[in-house]
């Protein structure tokens, strides 16, 4: 069955960052920027998605992604329901297909899914009428992470096109790296991957990136994007790197390896002292907390974009908070 679901199709999904074109990315980032201004007000809730239902279904642990999706839906006045794998029928061996068929019986407008299986988000589009948003499918894709990273870079540097971005660390196991390579390249940035040869997948140059095994090549980057190094990679039998100690010594991002004029980013959660030194994470040029903040407005923008016509950035009316009167017809209830 067809698994290509461009965001311009009739029933739109966001499965991979490549589902979007450049214009759609710009539109979503602009929408998020509009929402950011609302987030500075006292009342932060918008009525835009009132009466809509957003389900978040997380089969893998997550802090930022699940909480920001849920909060994003609430800020837009949607009804939300979140399902975690533990404590659900998944514990009783219910298949992904059956779980989705069951949830679809409640007619959700959007299902946000995280699952360890590559292609799981694409697969459930065959079993539900809801718009599907991929919140991470194994090592494959994490498109909203890419959008929030693009948003953060644009907010800090004013552009994406022409930037030099170094992605450092375990690219092999990273859905964030794969989404960002596609998203950054599409938006005109140049990407260099830096890490141990065992953790850079064979053939990835075909995605239009440069590969380096030398951490010194960070020097050319405007943005240093650091990936989480997972302890399992050092398990006996895996042998991706001999030890965490050697990894940190060779590829850890330490204060002496970045300059203050370089932006430091990390999708979180960070391992201080492993892939990133504490001093680097806490430095003025670090945008790690801004990334988390961007996650909320970008996910609001994605939900808004899926559930409204993709006609452009939200106008005045979309950005009116709950209870705020329409300027043209003061006193009238916002619909």
């Amino acid at each position: 069955m067809d698994t290509q679901h461009p965001l311009t199709a009739e029933r739109r999904h966001l499965i991979a960052i490549g589902d979007l074109d450049r214009a759609a990315v710009q539109r979503i980032l602009d929408t998020a920027e509009g929402f950011q201004s609302v987030m500075r007000r006292d009342v932060k809730k918008l009525p835009t998605l009132r009466g809509r239902t957003v389900m978040t279904v997380f089969f893998e642990s997550s802090t930022r992604t699940s909480s920001s999706f849920e909060l994003a839906a609430k800020r837009l006045s949607a009804d939300t329901m979140s399902l975690k794998a533990s404590g659900s029928s998944v514990d009783k061996g219910e298949s992904l297909k059956d779980t989705i068929l069951t949830l679809t019986a409640y007619d959700p407008d959007v299902i946000v899914i995280r699952h360890a299986g590559i292609g799981s988000a694409a697969m459930i589009t065959r079993h539900t009428d809801a718009h599907v948003v991929n919140a991470g499918d194994g090592k494959h894709q994490h498109p909203t992470q890419c959008l929030l990273d693009l948003y953060t870079m644009r907010a800090a540097l004013g552009r994406i096109a022409g930037l030099q971005v170094a992605i450092v660390g375990d690219v092999l196991h990273s859905r964030v790296a794969r989404s960002n390579i596609i998203g950054l390249t599409m938006m005109g940035a140049q990407v260099t991957l830096i890490g141990p040869p065992t953790l850079i997948p064979r053939g990835i140059e075909a995605m239009g990136v440069t590969v380096s095994y030398d951490i010194a090549d960070l020097g050319h980057a405007d943005v240093v994007y650091i990936l989480r190094m997972q302890r399992e990679r050092m398990d006996e039998g895996a042998n991706y790197v001999p030890s965490l100690r050697e990894y940190s010594a060779r590829w850890g991002v330490t204060p002496d390896r970045v300059r203050p004029d370089q932006l430091v980013m990390h999708p979180g959660p960070i391992n201080r002292g492993v892939e990133i030194a504490g001093a680097v994470a806490d430095a003025a040029n670090s945008r790690i907390i801004e990334q988390v903040r961007a996650g909320l407005v970008v996910r609001m923008a994605v939900l808004y974009d899926l559930l409204t016509e993709p006609a452009g950035t939200p106008g005045e009316s979309a950005l009116r908070v709950v209870g705020e009167p329409e300027p043209a017809a003061a006193g009238q209830e916002v619909a």
Binding site: S95, K97, I118, G119, R202, G203, A206, M207
Partner: protein
């Protein structure tokens, strides 16, 4: 010699197949508007304008008659998984694809590693099989790679060969003993070649597409280093060897070199490896694109096509692997390996290789008929006076959309959704009608 192929008894066909093109490279035959007369299951006359009264007539004008196809590698899932396939449904699928003889792999539940299990299959094939069906026995008990099966007894009971397919024979010393001991049976070993440590975690071919999708890579060398090892053992023991589903360019190079050195190796390749590449995995549908060995790169595909042309690869074999829908309606990494292929094999190869001019029709017929028959010591199907009727009548111009329902009990077809050339109208297997979707004229009418 022990009978190695089994089929349900059926009335032998008496038919006049008139006006078709007959192509049989083995008999040196390629002629237009020929009649083929079959009496009591045997081809009795071939020529233009044959007269035969009181005989059913099939109008084969516009059709091409080819020797029946032979598939040395199918999974009939019997015993144990008859909900995926059984001998009746699997052989009907074979007949629908123009096959007249197939050999089934022994990785069933239980494994075919004892005379009792083999006997039960021979019995069932005698009741249900609509094409001639043979059965491999395992090389090692339970295909566990530890202890040899009782090869002599299994050979006496009619095993067609020995295979641990699904698993490699990991221990070189066990393979060596198997090659030495199987000599007394005259039967061949058919090997699934895979270095498990190199293939560990592999979900698809390791390359640019796996890098982009994030799926674990199954490198080409996982196959070729094992093939290299086993060809050296076979050469040392001066023993014949058959290699299953060759997928990588590196493997082709090993086989070519071994043949030049005189090793008695035969090797097969699947239609999906000849027609598709790892790009097909990008849709992330395991029903069509997940199998072991995996679909490989365009360069590998080109090397396989060259090897079919020059004979380095002797056979095209389907590795027909039915799976229930639940095993495929899951995320890619959780899904079972394998695709069905009996009904689409010739049509896919004709569409993707013959029609674009990459390989000749006669070469494909040899690789799908005489090649596999010779590799396993079976009688080669032939369109020749005096031979039993083993043939297919194909409408090469009739396109068909690959979609359910299939004759197979499973639907995990690599070519699902494709429009393929070449429709099989009639299959005669061992002198009986095994498949027919063509009008038969009244008796005696011309």
């Amino acid at each position: 010699m022990t009978v190695r192929l089994h089929k349900t008894p059926a009335a032998p066909a008496t038919l006049l197949i008139s006006g078709g093109r007959v192509v049989d490279p083995g008999s040196g035959l390629d002629g237009e508007r020929l009649d083929v007369l079959v009496r009591e299951g045997t081809i009795t006359e071939i020529g233009p304008g044959l007269e035969a009264t009181g005989v059913e007539r099939v109008d084969a004008r516009g059709l091409t008659l080819l020797p029946g196809l032979v598939d040395p590698h199918v999974h009939l899932r019997t015993p144990g998984d008859e909900d995926e396939e059984d001998i009746a449904s699997g052989t009907r699928a074979a007949a629908a694809g123009g096959f007249v003889a197939i050999l089934a792999m022994p990785n069933t539940n239980p494994v075919v590693d004892s005379a009792q299990v083999l006997d039960s299959l021979v019995l069932r094939a005698g009741e249900e099989a609509v094409v001639a069906t043979g059965f491999f026995a395992a090389i090692s008990t339970g295909q566990a790679g530890a202890r040899l099966v009782e090869m002599a007894e299994l050979a006496d009971r009619g095993a067609a060969g020995f295979s641990d397919d699904g698993n490699p024979v990991e221990r070189a010393a066990l393979l060596r003993r198997a090659l030495q001991y199987s000599r007394i049976t005259g039967l061949k070993l058919s090997l699934h070649e895979e270095d498990m440590s190199l293939a560990a975690g592999g979900q698809m071919h390791e390359g640019a597409v796996s890098a982009e999708l994030g799926l674990g890579g199954h490198p080409s060398i996982a196959e070729s280093v094992m093939i290299g090892r086993d060809l050296q053992i076979a050469r040392h023991e001066n023993a014949p060897l058959h290699l299953c589903h060759v997928s990588a360019a590196e493997s082709v190079a090993e086989i070519r070199q071994a043949k030049e050195l005189g090793v008695a190796v035969t090797a097969e390749v699947t239609p999906h490896h000849l027609c598709l590449t790892d790009r097909a995995v990008a849709a992330l549908d395991p029903a069509t694109a997940k199998m072991n060995p995996p679909l490989r790169s365009a360069a590998d595909r080109a090397a396989l096509i060259d090897a079919v042309s020059d004979g380095t690869l002797d056979c095209i074999a389907t590795d027909h692997a039915p799976h229930r829908a639940e095993e495929k309606e899951v995320p890619f990494e959780e899904a079972a390996n394998g695709v069905i292929g009996l009904e689409t094999a010739f049509s896919a190869v004709y569409t993707h290789l013959v029609a674009p001019g990459l390989v000749s029709l006669s070469t494909i017929v040899e690789r799908m008929s005489t090649g596999p028959a010779a590799a396993f010591g079976l009688d080669a199907p032939a369109i020749r006076v005096g031979a039993p009727a083993n043939l297919g009548a194909w409408d090469l111009a009739a396109d068909w959309l690959v979609e359910p329902p299939y004759a197979s009990r499973s639907t995990n077809c690599a070519f699902a959704g494709q429009l393929l050339h070449a429709t099989c109208r009639l299959t005669l297997a061992a002198g009986t009608v095994a498949h027919r979707v063509i009008e038969v004229a009244e008796v005696g009418e011309r």
